[in-house]
């Protein structure tokens, strides 16, 4: 079969490629069998079909040209042969419609099983590279098929052929568009996946729209799919780049691990140059890394390596200084030579660095440390690609002293598949040139087994050679000795070269090596001898005078050795050192002249060289020989040789014409030549990012992103700071806790809470001073031994929790002591610094090369030291982090506990995790607490009319923080005229400062997705002591999330936020009693919330009830026949969902409160609010 197939193969491929009709026919015929034979079940179908089939075979005459369709398939052997027997006919055309009718019929049938069978056969054709494109119309009809497997297979088909049949493919688009709206996230995702995989340019706008929509989908899985779709669209239409970058930017901000890997991949494909998009997400990516799936990890780590190269300083910049200071590192790095190499390598750089370092000692950026620390555990990944990615990150980014950790992991990969070994060894080879020391302990792991594939052997040899130094050379040479006897001749040749390199690099063993190589000259294998000659030639060049006997020995070899390179080498040696072997040299030339015409070109050139050199030194004996050789060369076929002969003749044979040059002929030919340096082919490969394809090929691959050089001065690190307003931060933490329940894996209590928590703490300090956040962060990144580190990290996480608690406690107290803490923070810093220095003395281990390390360690141990201190620190940090105090916050904090029970998912327009559900709605109970009796003052005049004057005001900016400017806001409950979907917010400014305030306006509005704000018109001037009022509109999207913005005056900016109580998110509507009942009837079940309560003693009459309810929520009263019941109605402002409230009173203050609302979250919250209002 094999020969037959091989014979068939080429024509078949050709046929396939041009997609002739014949091959389609044939293809299908043979495709049948593999699908049908496996599951025994299909046999019935097969036999039913058989007569038909046979008919086709016969009637078709088949065979189109030499049995087209044999291509690669063994399965279709039978058919193939029959096709052949039929002989190449031209009847293929006839059979084609018939054959496909058959499949089409099946596709058109009502039975899913038939459709499925047909699709299976079609997919099998595709899998084997057969053309099935003419079935497109029949297949595309089934795109909306109910059967999920048929559907899947149709998708497979569509993706494969849509590009070829663009018009027909459009028929399927509406199905996907429908799918995009499906309530099931998986269907949405798969619709987007297929839609984006169809490479039809017409639908680019549709794709764009779908991607944009999916990017803000609430399901992270759909968002992930959107991220995958981005590069697809980009490759289809690069002009969409700008829009796609927007989507990428949005998705980069996503906080789920599911999305992270995919979006970074999209980033790398679409806009790898937009490194600025990473800034804000850098810390988050670092912290998420461990939880991201393995493929995503690889992409993220590679990207972050590049990022770090642009943003941080070279950690090894002042290593020269350190080396001078303490020799501690030298023992670690083994040989001095290594150091010397390095010194030479970047001598200039160091000189520069040294001066620089003297001025400013290197301190590692805490973000740099964060990256190193968070990637380190991934060295333990089972995925070789992840391990390699981390290894290259450490190689390119870590301080010299820390790189060692990757060696062990890389050596582990050598146990893996041979392809993995191949790639890893290439990278190890590059690393060993720069940093030999780190692999030296693992020398024996690179020993070669006779069963290794040759390419692995050669690479291991390379590594062994790189690792050789004075101390281990004897062991290595002994190993090499074993290798030379190997049966694998390519490998032996490589070993001989390796010996040569060892000899040149290490002076002590040069003679030993040379002797060994000379012994090899008597080897029976010619290849071995030839290789030895070449290497010996290189070695002899270093000290020729000592070794004339070796040269003599080699001269004798010319009789036997036939390998051109070796012959050429010997001739060159004899010519070069003809003075050392004056007797033999002319004889060799004689022999060579005799065989000149039969030699290879390279040998001929050397014969000419030899003759020239001999002519110059010993013209008496060799003049005739030389002329003979030159004459022979003159008529050689190779123009190089003719050229050379002509050139040499002019030079050495003095004639009248030849000018001054011939005088210098001897100088020209017998100049002292520098000895060649035997270099590793892996030298300088590290300018490619390790682990990359480009590195492996030692050539720039398409799409390769250069690894940038370290910047001279670090760019502003504050770009990575993420501003997180206090309230979001707290609630996000709360949310994360909740998430832990569903995500018990990495985030379980002590397990991995570290990174996530620290993410938070980092965010906390982010807006604060840089150094503050840094020292906190880089705590456990130190190089302590493993067990120690382990226990440390445990403590750390516990500590984290404690800190958490404290933090909460503290935050409650905070507003009170805000001002003092701010003042005292400086003092604290001082004490801290003192501590630090003490710590440093005690902790000898932390005397490492970076100050940073000791600093961070001390700050950490400090927090371990005593609780109070930690608290102090926290306090300080918090004080740092948010200059303007927001008293309103306090209330929110208290409310948090109960609110976290609610899942607010359907409440948010887009619950991507950073859109933290807000528990921050204004609790009325607290408001009343604060406002005391003021509530009763605001009397509601009428029960049926919406009270507008009753609105209560909230503080937006306190007089003290606002430096005299105080701002309050209230919900005026007036319709906001410019936009009906907005809640009107009345803002009252009071300037109690001595000076006037100008240009009051809003800026930098930060909103959750979907929210909108209509800013109030700028107030140009607010004189001292005056007050002004403005109205703004906010569309809260029916959520209680705050609108954050900056309030700007001509001198200052204040961060403020407006949060609506749930009751303000609705507007009153007028309903009749009947309408109310009808609507209420429709909002039963889940939409109805009933609560029993006991009314407050003061509030048992109808009037008070109405008053309190309408104060709590912006509703209007619905007339009611019964005096025991009060009814209210309203609609939410944005979506207009109906909100119905009824309070039924019973004896002795007992009452029942019912809220009906489509939006369950609003309903739930409203019940609480009203409940509080009524029971006060």
């Amino acid at each position: 079969m094999t020969t037959m197939q091989k014979l068939l193969q080429l024509p078949v491929n050709a046929v396939n490629m041009v997609k002739t009709v014949q091959s389609q026919v044939q293809g299908q015929e043979e495709d049948k069998s593999p699908v049908l034979s496996p599951d025994g079940g299909q046999h019935s179908w097969y036999s039913a079909l058989q007569p038909d089939e046979l008919r086709h075979l016969r009637s078709g005459g088949t065979g189109g040209g030499g049995g087209g369709g044999g291509g690669g398939g063994g399965g279709g052997d039978q058919e193939e042969r029959s096709a052949l027997e039929d002989g190449g006919g031209s009847g293929g055309f006839q059979s084609q419609p018939l054959r496909h009718d058959d499949l089409k019929e099946m596709l058109d049938s009502n039975k899913d099983s038939l459709k499925l069978e047909a699709m299976k056969r079609i997919v099998a054709m595709i899998a084997r590279g057969k053309n099935a494109s003419d079935l497109f119309p029949a297949v595309v009809k089934n795109v909306a098929c109910k059967n999920i497997e048929v559907k899947k297979l149709v998708y497979v088909y569509l993706v494969r052929y849509a590009e070829e049949q663009q018009d027909l493919a459009l028929l399927s688009i509406s199905t996907f568009q429908r799918g995009l709206k499906d309530p099931n996230q998986l269907i949405r995702a798969s619709a987007l996946r297929v839609l984006s995989s169809i490479r039809v340019t017409i639908i680019v706008p549709i794709m764009m729209l779908a991607i944009k929509e999916a990017a803000s989908d609430m399901s992270p899985y759909v968002r992930k799919t959107a991220a995958h779709a981005i590069p697809k669209l980009y490759s289809l239409d690069p002009e969409q780049k700008d829009q796609l970058i927007e989507v990428i930017e949005k998705l980069l901000a996503d906080k789920t691990t599911l999305v992270a890997g995919s979006v970074v991949m999209a980033f790398e494909e679409v806009c790898p140059e937009r490194i600025d998009l990473i800034h804000k997400n850098y810390r988050k990516l670092c912290n998420l890394l461990i939880d991201v799936e393995e493929w995503g990890q690889v992409v993220i780590i590679n990207m972050l390596t590049r990022y770090a190269r642009t943003q941080f300083l070279n950690p090894n910049i002042n290593e020269s200084l350190l080396e001078e200071g303490g020799g501690g590192e030298k023992t670690f790095y083994g040989s001095d030579e290594d150091e010397d190499d390095d010194d030479e390598d970047d001598k200039e750089k160091k000189a520069e660095a040294a001066t620089l370092a003297k001025r400013k000692p290197y301190v590692m950026d805490p973000d740099h440390r964060l990256l190193l620390r968070n990637t380190k555990p991934l060295l333990q990944s089972r995925n070789a690609a992840v391990v390699m990615a981390v290894a290259q990150l450490y190689f390119h980014l870590a301080p010299k002293a820390e790189i060692g950790v990757i060696a062990k992991a890389l050596v582990r990969l050598l146990r893996s598949h041979s392809e993995v070994q191949y790639v890893v060894l290439q990278n190890v080879a590059t690393m060993t040139i720069k940093r030999r020391g780190m692999f030296e302990p693992y020398l024996k792991s690179f020993y070669i087994r006779s069963t290794d594939p040759t390419q692995i052997k050669v690479l291991k040899l390379e590594v062994l050679t790189n690792l050789a130094n004075e101390t281990n050379i004897s062991t290595i040479l002994r190993e090499f000795q074993t290798y030379i006897k190997s049966m694998d001749k390519d490998f032996v040749a490589a070993t001989i070269q390796a010996i040569g390199r060892c000899a040149t690099n290490i002076g002590e063993v040069r003679d030993t090596c040379l002797n060994g190589l000379v012994q090899l000259l008597s080897n029976r294998d010619e290849l071995v001898v030839a290789e030895s000659v070449v290497v010996i030639k290189k070695l002899l060049q270093m000290q020729p005078e000592k070794h004339s006997d070796i040269i003599k020995h080699m001269a004798k070899l010319t009789d036997n050795i036939q390998v051109p390179m070796a012959r050429a080498s010997i001739l060159w040696l004899i010519g070069e050192y003809c003075e050392h072997v004056p007797k033999i040299a002319p004889d060799v030339l004689r022999k060579m002249a005799k065989s000149f015409t039969n030699e290879e070109d390279i040998v001929k050139l050397q014969i000419i060289n030899l003759s020239a050199k001999l002519y110059l030194t010993n013209s008496k004996q060799t003049k005739l020989l030389t002329q003979y050789v030159l004459n022979l060369a003159k008529y050689d076929q190779n123009y190089d040789i003719r050229d050379r002969a002509r050139f040499i003749r002019q030079l050495i044979v003095p004639t009248e014409k030849s000018g001054a040059l011939s005088k210098y002929a001897k100088k020209l030919f017998l100049a002292l030549k520098p000895a060649p340096v035997l270099e590793s082919p892996f030298k300088d490969r590290d300018h490619f990012q390790l682990g990359s394809l480009s590195h492996l090929l030692n050539a720039k691959a398409g799409g390769y992103q250069e690894l940038p050089d370290w910047p001279e001065a670090a760019p502003d690190p504050s770009v990575r700071n993420v501003e997180v307003p206090e309230w979001t931060k707290c609630s996000s933490r709360e949310k994360r806790k909740e998430k832990k329940v569903e995500k018990p894996f990495y985030s379980d209590s002590e397990g991995e809470s570290g990174p996530t928590e620290s993410a938070d703490s980092e965010l906390d300090s982010a807006s604060g001073s840089e150094s503050g956040s840094g020292s906190e962060e880089s705590g456990s990144g130190s190089e302590s031994d493993e067990s120690e580190e382990g226990s440390e990290s445990e403590q750390e996480s516990e500590e984290d929790k404690e800190e958490d608690k404290k933090k909460k406690k503290k935050e409650l107290k905070k507003p009170v002591r805000e001002s003092e803490s701010e003042q005292s923070s400086e003092e604290e810093e001082e004490t801290k610094r003192e501590k630090k220095s003490k710590q440093r003395k005690s902790d000898s281990e932390s005397e490492s090369d970076e100050e940073e390390e000791s600093e961070s360690e001390s700050s950490q141990s400090e927090s371990e030291d005593s609780e109070s201190e930690a608290e102090v620190k926290k306090k300080k940090k918090a004080a740092d982090s948010k200059p303007p105090p927001k008293p309103v916050k306090t209330e929110n904090k208290k409310e948090k506990k109960e609110m976290s029970l609610l899942d607010l998912d359907d409440f948010e327009p887009s619950p991507s995790p950073q859109v933290t559900p807000v528990n921050t709605f204004m609790s009325n109970s607290l408001v009343t607490d604060l406002e005391g009796l003021s509530l009763s003052d605001s009397v509601l005049s009428s029960a049926t009319i919406t009270p507008s004057s009753a609105s209560k005001s909230y503080e937006l900016l306190h007089r003290i923080t606002g430096e005299g400017l105080s701002v309050e806001y209230c919900f005026s409950r007036q319709p906001f005229s410019p936009d009906g979907n907005m809640v009107a917010v009345q803002v009252q400014f009071n300037n109690s400062a001595a000076s006037e305030t100008k240009n009051l306006h809003m800026e930098d509005v930060k909103l959750q997705c979907g929210m909108r704000v209509k800013e109030f018109p700028e107030i140009e001037l607010l004189p001292a002591g005056e007050a002004a009022t403005a109205v703004m509109g906010i569309d809260f999207c029916d959520s209680t999330q705050a609108a954050n913005f900056q309030l700007c005056t001509h001198t200052k900016k204040f961060f403020v936020s407006i949060q609506p109580p749930v009751g303000e998110l609705m507007r009153p509507v007028f309903l009749t009693e009947n309408e109310f009942k009808k609507e209420q009837g429709q909002l039963m079940g889940m939409n109805e919330i009933t609560e029993r309560l006991t009314l407050d003693a003061k509030c048992r009459n109808e009037h008070t009830i109405v008053q309190r309810v309408t104060t709590a929520a912006n509703l209007s009263r619905v007339p009611c026949g019964s005096d025991k019941e009060c009814r209210f109605a309203g609609r939410t402002v944005t979506s207009g969902s109906l909100v119905l409230v009824s309070v039924v009173t019973k004896e002795e203050g007992a009452a029942q409160l019912t809220v009906n609302c489509e939006k369950m979250v609003i309903g739930t919250m409203l019940v609480k609010d009203i409940l509080l209002a009524l029971t006060q």
Binding site: Q5, S37, P38, D39, G41, Q42, S44, G72, G74, D112, V123, A124, A127, I148, K152, L153, E163, Q185, S196, S197, R199, P220, H228, K232, S262, E293, W295, N302, P377, S381, R382, A384, A385, K408, S418, E419, V423, Y447, R449, S450, T454, Q455, E479, D525, G691, S692, L693, L697, A701, G703, Q705, E742, K743, P744, F745, G751, E752, G790, S793, S797
Partner: protein
């Protein structure tokens, strides 16, 4: 990233192709065939090849080439690791990874490939997730499918992909709840002619077979975790916990998986279970040679050595072997020049010995190198490093599972130079 995949059999036929982006013609494989021709042995085909417009990255597994085509920069290990994952998945689904099996299940394989990559970027590679989407074929199911016209594609979409524990499928139910762990250690060693150890180390792996209902949370602890030097974990293992307490804590995937691999710290001297006395010589005159191999127990910790075999890759000039074995039997493959001596159990009282003569091609020069001996062996119920599991606990579920730990020592790359 990964543009296309071609599966190529030993004789160079492309029997499956899959494109994740636009279609790339098969002719691109010609560059690969060229390299394959040049390499003689399939193991020697360079894994990464450069062609004018593409890069070819291939792996060789189970006599099949998995050849992927990429167009732009991509970490080569990324692709290689993925291709091996494809082979693993096929193996996992159909019990073996061979041309026949793939051809028989071509549609399922194609669907799997479709799920594993999206636009060339890995999407779902966890076997638990894949099995929820595309059910592996079983005899029962194929019968049922035939009768009902059902399919292998799961009708409910998998939840695993969406959860934060992507490696475990949801709703696992078993009547017998059991968790088995196999601690398998392999000795890698190179012994020189005189029997002294050039290099020896122990590599271990813990294979698990966990069939537990619900969402169990397991912890596995060792008596002597200090022995472990370097390890890699399945993603399910909580790394922090290991770092701090040296306890493996994890929510296991359902079914078989590799929990961890480890390397025993090099400070410990590796106890070799056997010693080998050998003498292979080729006479200068006359075309014959002598072979004499004896194997004896060295440090077996009182256990019996089983499954002992010796493999010798003879020089090409060795025509035949005329040997006698005191125990077991030997075969000499004339085509591949491989001598295999299958000994079986090692009897300490009567040491197995193989001796006799080798006949060489007349006139051919004497082979310079004596062939190396590759040794395989097995010792049941022993972890040669001394590693011991102390306990296995389960949290999160109420039932009492059946737990079992098995130890096994094997020879890994155990080579004796002669």
């Amino acid at each position: 990233m990964i543009h296309s995949l071609f599966l190529i059999n030993h004789s160079g036929d492309i029997f499956l192709e899959k494109h994740w982006k636009s279609v790339i013609g098969r002719s691109v494989c010609d560059y690969f065939f060229e390299a394959k021709e040049k390499a003689v042995q399939p193991e020697n085909v360079p894994p990464v090849l450069q062609t004018p417009h593409h890069y070819l990255i291939s792996v060789y597994r189970d006599k099949l080439f998995f050849l992927s085509v990429v167009q732009t920069e991509v970490p080569p290990l990324f692709v290689i690791e993925f291709l091996h994952r494809v082979a693993d998945t096929v193996q996992d689904y159909f019990g073996e990874c061979s041309e026949g099996v793939i051809k028989d299940n071509v549609v399922t394989v194609y669907e799997l490939l479709e799920e594993m990559l999206d636009n060339g970027f890995p999407l779902a590679t966890e076997s638990n997730v894949l099995k929820e989407m595309i059910r592996p074929p079983t005899i029962l199911r194929s019968v049922v499918n035939t009768l009902t016209g059902g399919s292998n594609v799961g009708d409910t979409l998998p939840t695993g992909q969406l959860s934060s524990i992507p490696w475990r499928r949801a709703g696992v139910k078993y009547t017998n709840n059991e968790a088995y762990f196999d601690v398998i250690e392999e000795i890698d060693a190179i012994l020189d002619k005189s029997g002294t150890t050039v290099f020896a180390e122990i590599q271990g792996v813990i294979e698990a077979c966990v069939r537990l209902t619900g969402m169990p949370d397991l912890t596995l602890s060792f008596m002597n975790p200090r022995l472990l030097d370097d390890m890699s974990f399945h993603p399910c293992v909580r790394f922090k916990r290991w770092e701090s307490e040296r306890i493996l804590s994890f929510i296991p995937p359902d079914g078989n998986f590799t929990l961890m691999t480890y390397h025993v710290s090099s400070q410990n001297v590796v106890a070799l279970p056997v010693y080998v006395k050998q003498n292979i010589s080729f006479l200068e005159t006359g075309s014959c040679g002598r072979l004499d191999i004896t194997i004896g127990p060295k440090q077996t910790m009182g256990k019996t050595v089983e499954g002992l075999t010796v493999t010798v890759h003879m020089p090409k000039t060795v025509l035949s072997a005329n040997l006698t074995a005191t125990q077991g039997n030997y075969t000499y493959n004339l085509a591949t020049k491989v001598l295999v001596w299958d000994i079986g159990k090692l009897n300490p009282q009567k040491l197995p010995n193989l001796r006799g003569s080798l006949s060489l091609q007349a006139g051919a020069p004497r082979p310079e190198e004596n062939p190396a001996l590759d040794i395989t062996l097995k010792i049941q119920q022993l972890a040669i490093s001394g590693l011991k599991v102390s306990r296995l606990d389960m949290y999160g579920e109420k039932y009492k599972p059946f737990k079992g730990v098995k130890y096994l020592t094997k020879a890994g790359k155990f080579q004796v130079r002669t």
